[in-house]
């Protein structure tokens, strides 16, 4: 689960981490008031969406308006907020359709001496959390890692003990910090790592981490993602979820116990198992088609779930055909076909449907499909089904 920058900063501040003074604004007047309340000569107005690249991003409705802007007066804050709120921000990470901006964060300006990068993620290799730091702040860390891997510092830490003081200092010195900044870094690094553990995060990214003119360390921007599997023990965090930021069909699928990801193609797919679902997308592409989605109905799909799965696939107007790929292991193929035919009648599927079944009771299941009198094409194996499904789009 992702949250907004302002929410991440509020949580980090609770964990003792130093963040700039900031006020959330949902209207142009609130933005103007926020500027006055902060009382400084300048402030930053920041669009709140779950995507990066906001500074370079522009609004669809106002092509000259950036997603993050420095202002020097309450009027300027109001002016920018008027264009930003309710408009659609397109950044390198949002895709062409962009994201609607409903909330702004107005923050005090910082006297920036240096910008660094700080991140915490789970490291598969060491089997635990790892602190990642770099002198190259404000840039995409992936780009830094690719072009100058020697500038990426990694410090795995113990999930029980947290980042130890000496580990924090080692990273600080390797980043070239000195004087009071080392003490500030030791404190901040350890707090951020503890925050990561305490909240079951899957990612914390502070980019840039600002070293101010007087040597202090302050969070410039913050991205926090929580481990969905651990949310059951963090009910307070669940309240921070912003459904406006998520693909509505993905939210609906999740509620029905389905795993769905929308893609750009026109061939819908319904599959059991994540690996097979990914592979089904791959084989569609391999035979010249384009998958419209990833959809895993799981191991024990019933009529309701399969019906819901079809609804979700068909809600995408791009879908011109559907490929069903089921490997019935424990789940018997005839059970799946019963669910499939039930769903077919309930929804009234009009696009071509190709079904590939394999596994337990496959003969009974194929006969059921053939006897149903419905225009369902049977694929004899994975390749045959994929070819027929791709061909059905041109028909």
């Amino acid at each position: 689960m992702k949250i907004h920058e302002y929410q991440a900063k509020q949580l980090l501040a609770k964990g003792g981490v130093k963040v700039p003074r900031g006020i959330v604004a949902k209207s142009p007047d609130e933005a103007a008031n926020a500027f006055s309340e902060l009382g400084g000569p300048l402030a930053v107005v920041k669009s709140q969406i779950h995507a990066g690249g906001r500074g370079k991003g522009r609004f669809k409705q106002h092509p000259d308006q950036p997603g993050v802007v420095l202002v020097k007066s309450a009027d300027a804050a109001r002016d920018h907020a008027t264009r930003m709120l309710g408009s659609t921000l397109v950044t390198i990470q949002t895709g062409g359709e962009g994201k609607n901006v409903n909330v702004l964060l107005i923050e005090e300006g910082l006297k920036i001496a240096r910008e660094m990068y700080l991140g915490v993620v789970v490291d598969r290799e060491s089997g635990g959390p790892i602190l990642i730091a770099s002198t190259e702040g404000g840039m995409e860390i992936e780009v830094v890692a690719h072009n100058t891997p020697e500038k990426i510092l990694q410090e795995p830490f113990d999930v029980e003990a947290g980042l130890l003081p000496y580990q924090a200092r080692n990273v600080a010195y390797r980043l070239g910090l000195d004087g009071t900044s080392v003490r500030a870094a030791e404190k901040l690094f350890r707090q951020v790592c503890q925050f990561f553990i305490d909240n079951d995060c899957s990612m914390v990214e502070i980019n840039p981490l600002v070293v101010t003119a007087d040597g202090d360390l302050v969070v410039g921007d913050a991205k926090v993602t929580f481990d969905d599997n651990a949310l059951f023990r963090h009910q307070d965090l669940v309240a921070l979820r912003d459904l406006n930021e998520e693909e509505p069909m993905e939210v609906q699928a999740q509620a029905s116990g389905l795993s769905y990801v929308k893609l750009d193609g026109n061939l819908g797919c319904l599959v059991n198992g994540a690996g097979l679902a990914m592979s089904t997308m791959d084989i569609i592409k391999y035979h010249g088609g384009a998958p419209a989605n990833f959809l895993d109905v799981g191991g024990g799909a019933n009529v309701d779930q399969v019906t819901e799965a079809f609804r979700i696939i068909l809600a995408d107007p791009n879908v011109k055909g559907i490929l069903v790929n089921i490997f019935g292991g424990i789940m018997k193929c005839d059970t799946i076909v019963t669910a499939l035919l039930g769903a077919y009648d309930k929804i009234g599927i009009t696009v071509p449907l190709v079904v590939r079944l394999e596994g337990t009771n496959v003969d009974i299941a194929r006969k059921m499909l053939a006897d149903s009198g419905k225009k369902i094409v049977i694929g004899t194996d994975l390749t045959d089904a994929a070819k027929k499904a791709v061909a059905s789009l041109g028909a």
Binding site: A230, G273, L276, M278, F327
Partner: protein, 299 residues
């Protein structure tokens, strides 16, 4: 011979009184009875608070320690719900269970980090979590895979994905290839046993003549495996990597199946494997034939 599982394996299920735990314990017991009639392979289960009872003929114990003492079990199959699964794994390890197979999906990743830490130096081996389990065809099935699709044979199968494992076993069965042992390692970011350890076991197993590896996007375990194959594996290896068409930043069902920052793509994994002589299937429909090609190339 085979790896991990042989005729001395005695299984209990942690979470046996739950719906899935009981169903799959019954399936595993039926598989053992079919292939080794008269032998006691699946010897009971644990559910705290239900010790001393029986469920469908399985004796139930309160603790793993008690179950071992009374049944001689050396393998545990875990179906405990996600919030309690890490504790169940550590209970099994602490009690001295040699092989722990955790099926549970959805365990918090930091719980697995704690398990990983606590199991450093442990004599127990963990397979999973979020995996279909292990099967040595004709000997024992410890997991949720349909037993009949796995034919006895000489291919060692290692896979991150459940249904894709079935697909591969099915394709191999159709062309006369069976498995020595098939292991589902799981699709989570932190797992008990990775490719390399299993590659080593299959390389050392005299019954295994070839290895099929099924990977997916995310992380770099397949790339490390490629390096290991280059240095240590002399048997023919084939592979498939799922997720060539997955967009970056989107989690594809498995918590581990996500391309982050351009790393962990199917293309780079495929290339790393091909560079060390592994036959990599382009299409998921060709996993069985890719294995056959790899074997035939050595003849």
């Amino acid at each position: 011979m085979s790896i991990l599982v042989d005729k001395h394996t005695k299984i209990i299920c942690q979470g046996i009184t739950g719906k899935s735990g009981l169903f799959h314990s019954q399936q595993c017991r039926a598989y053992a009875q079919e292939h080794r009639p008269g032998e006691d392979v699946f010897v009971g289960g644990c559910t705290p608070g239900k010790g001393g009872t029986e469920i469908d003929g399985f004796p139930v114990f309160n603790t793993v320690e008690e179950a071992i003492r009374k049944t001689g079990a050396n393998c545990s199959l875990i179906f405990v719900p996600p919030p309690f699964a890490a504790d169940a794994i550590l209970e099994a390890a602490d009690a001295g269970i040699g092989l722990i197979v955790c099926i549970t999906e959805g365990i918090p990743v930091l719980d697995m980090a704690r398990v990983h830490r606590a199991m450093q130096g442990s004599k127990s081996r963990l397979i999973g979590p979020n995996c279909p389990g292990i099967i040595t065809p004709g000997v024992a099935k410890i997991g949720i895979m349909p037993g009949y699709i796995h034919k006895q044979g000489t291919v060692g199968l290692i896979s991150k994905s459940g249904t894709l494992t079935y697909e591969a076993a099915w394709q191999m069965g159709n062309i006369g290839l069976g498995q020595s042992t098939a292991v589902g390692i799981g699709g989570d970011p932190i797992i008990g046993t990775m490719y390399i350890e299993l590659l080593q076991m299959f390389q050392d197993d005299p019954k295994t003549e070839a290895i099929l590896m099924i990977g997916e996007i995310g992380g770099n375990a397949e790339i490390q495996a490629a390096q290991y194959i280059k240095e240590h594996v002399t048997k023919p290896v084939a592979a498939f990597i799922a997720g060539a068409t997955a967009p970056p930043g989107k989690r594809m069902g498995h918590a581990g199946a996500i391309i982050s920052g351009g790393a962990g793509t199917a293309a780079e994994k495929k290339k790393a494997l091909e560079d060390v002589g592994v036959v990599v299937a382009d299409s998921p429909a060709d996993m069985g034939t890719a294995m056959k090609r790899a074997i035939d190339a050595r003849k």
